[in-house]
């Protein structure tokens, strides 16, 4: 039967994740789990002077979808500004994952984005007018 959502790339990334590890001195770091399945993802980000993503590493544990999505997301945001990271859409990440997902699995795919945004919104950004803290 069709196991199409597990296309080669997903399994490749599950076996050989990109940008995996911890940063020594991140500008922000955040970790969260999905209690439904026990997936956990941490993302560490270092920014340059222009508030662009200079380095990003993730770590964690979980299903192939959540882990592959974390690799794809971290690869994609390299060089992006903090404002761009904050505006990164769910649709864009699902597009990167590129396989049809059931409702339950969409949460797996988006866990890394949730973690990234929670971290990003935790630090002040003068260019972000929506930030009032």
């Amino acid at each position: 039967m069709d196991a199409g959502m597990y296309r080669e790339q997903i399994i490749d990334l599950y076996e050989h994740p990109l940008n995996y590890g911890h940063l020594e001195q991140p500008d922000f770091t955040y970790e969260e789990d999905n209690p439904l399945c026990g997936d956990v993802i941490r993302i560490d980000v270092r920014l340059d002077e222009q508030q662009r993503v200079a380095e990003v590493l993730w770590s964690g544990d979980g299903c192939a979808i959540s882990q592959a999505a974390a690799s794809l997301l971290t690869e994609e945001i390299k060089g992006q500004t903090l404002a761009e990271v904050k505006a990164f859409s769910s649709e864009r990440l699902l597009e990167l994952v590129g396989v049809p997902l059931s409702m339950a699995r969409v949460k797996c795919a988006l866990l890394s984005l949730k973690v990234l945004k929670a971290g990003a919104y935790g630090i002040p950004d003068p260019s972000d007018m929506r930030h009032h803290e």
Binding site: M1, Y6, P35, C37, D39, C63, A64, A104, R105
Partner: protein
């Protein structure tokens, strides 16, 4: 004789295709069972022909509805061998049964320093209500450990049951390991230190004979939807003298005898604990389910599940990298929980789903148990009255495909 083909024909959903051309292989009865036609018809018939509110109307339909609702209580009481129907309280599910005892009996009887003993293999339903109570009342919760094979460390009971223990609440059958616990032995141990005993029977009542007198338990709770009945209703059995002494849980209509602006006088048992218009159709559906299961015979159901489970455990154990959780052999209820090296349980369940195979993946509402095992999740296939060996073969073939997708 156990006519499996006829039994399968009783469940309309078993002929469903979950995707075009992909028939359902339902191996998730421990989460919720499917419903035989007689249960659906009983509820449909009630709604079409005899629906009205119960206990208060003087008209014909109200009388019929009341008779059917209270008749279901009698059926359930007989099913679990409760001495009297008023010891059967209809609640929302087993979870609500635990909450009722925690809030009503617990608040009225527990003092700081008192202890409640649970086990490490409990479902969240038998953990969280006591944790809420513990925070409110300054009582201590203790947990009887399980051994590596998923059986309870019975040799340590004396250490955990003390003169401070007021209640021992435990599961009759583990929803993860499948372990069939020695209920009477555990109840006796609780009583020996003067504690009450409550049984989580959600995974046992659907699958084997239940005798609350034989168990000698003080409270016992289970859910209808795991035993061929509808969702939305469950049962709390309690010893009459305990229930009679307990304050009401939820307040409102039906649970009162008299109300003034200054207060109220509660109704008699069992209505004292059934506030508001009750789950009438659901009770009637549960009554039909109980009749259906009794017709098959609970001992016969148990035998059937034992043989399916033995077949499944054997077949699964031959899959490379598959680790079975729980005890081997006959002390194992109708389910098989496992992990597969190199594949997360959610990925297993997702790939199996594409072949129409429904299993559960996650922590099965038992996070502390999984934490103790050092895993975040497991996969669980569970079996019921209609499960056949061919479905186990589908599962095994599906798991081989999972390994192929993951290049194992």
């Amino acid at each position: 004789m156990y006519d499996i083909e006829r039994i399968r024909a009783d469940f309309p959903i078993l002929t469903t295709e979950v995707y075009p051309g992909v028939p359902l292989v339902y191996l998730d009865s421990a989460a919720s069972s499917q419903k035989p036609l007689v249960v659906l018809e009983a509820m449909d018939d009630y709604y079409r022909h005899t629906h009205a509110n119960v206990h208060r109307g003087v008209h014909r339909l109200s009388e019929l509805a009341t008779t059917a609702y209270e008749g279901a209580r009698v059926q359930v009481a007989e099913f679990i061998h409760a001495p009297a129907p008023e010891e059967v309280i209809f609640v929302g599910n087993a979870t609500e049964g635990f909450n009722l005892v925690a809030y009503s009996w617990g608040r009225a009887n527990l003092r700081p320093g008192d202890e409640i003993l649970l086990t490490e293999m409990e479902h969240h339903a038998n953990l969280v209500p006591w944790q809420i109570l513990a925070a409110e009342r300054g009582i201590t919760l203790r947990y009887l450990p399980f051994r590596d094979d998923g059986t309870l460390a019975l040799e340590r009971l004396d250490e955990f049951l003390t003169e401070r223990t007021r209640l021992f609440s435990f599961t009759a059958v583990s929803n993860v390991f499948g372990t069939i616990n020695p209920v009477r032995q555990l109840v006796d141990a609780a009583h020996a230190v003067g504690a009450l005993a409550m049984v989580d029977a959600a995974q046992s009542v659907p699958h084997m004979p239940t005798d609350v007198v034989g168990f000698d338990c003080d409270f016992l709770a289970f859910s209808s939807h795991k035993m061929c009945g509808p969702t939305g209703i469950g049962v709390l059995y309690g010893r009459r003298e305990l229930l009679a002494a307990m304050p009401p849980f939820l307040g409102g209509g039906d649970m009162i005898r008299r109300v003034t602006f200054d207060g109220f006088i509660p109704n008699e048992l069992p209505w004292k604990f059934e506030a508001g218009t009750p789950r009438i159709a659901e009770a009637i559906g549960l009554g039909a389910a109980v009749t259906y299961l009794s017709g098959l015979g609970l001992e016969a159901i148990h035998q059937h599940e034992q043989s399916i489970t033995a077949y499944a455990l054997e077949a699964l154990s031959e899959i490379p990298g598959l680790r079975l959780l729980g005890p081997p052999g006959t002390q194992h209820g109708g389910l098989a929980s496992f992990t597969l090296e190199g594949v997360h349980p959610h990925d297993i369940a997702d790939i199996l789903d594409k072949s129409g195979i429904a299993i559960r993946a996650g922590h099965h509402c038992a996070m502390p148990l999984h934490h103790r095992l050092g895993i975040s999740a497991s996969a669980r296939a569970s079996f019921y009255v209609h499960t056949i060996p061919a479905e186990i073969d589908h599962l095994v073939a599906g798991l081989h495909r999972v390994r192929e997708v993951f290049r194992l």
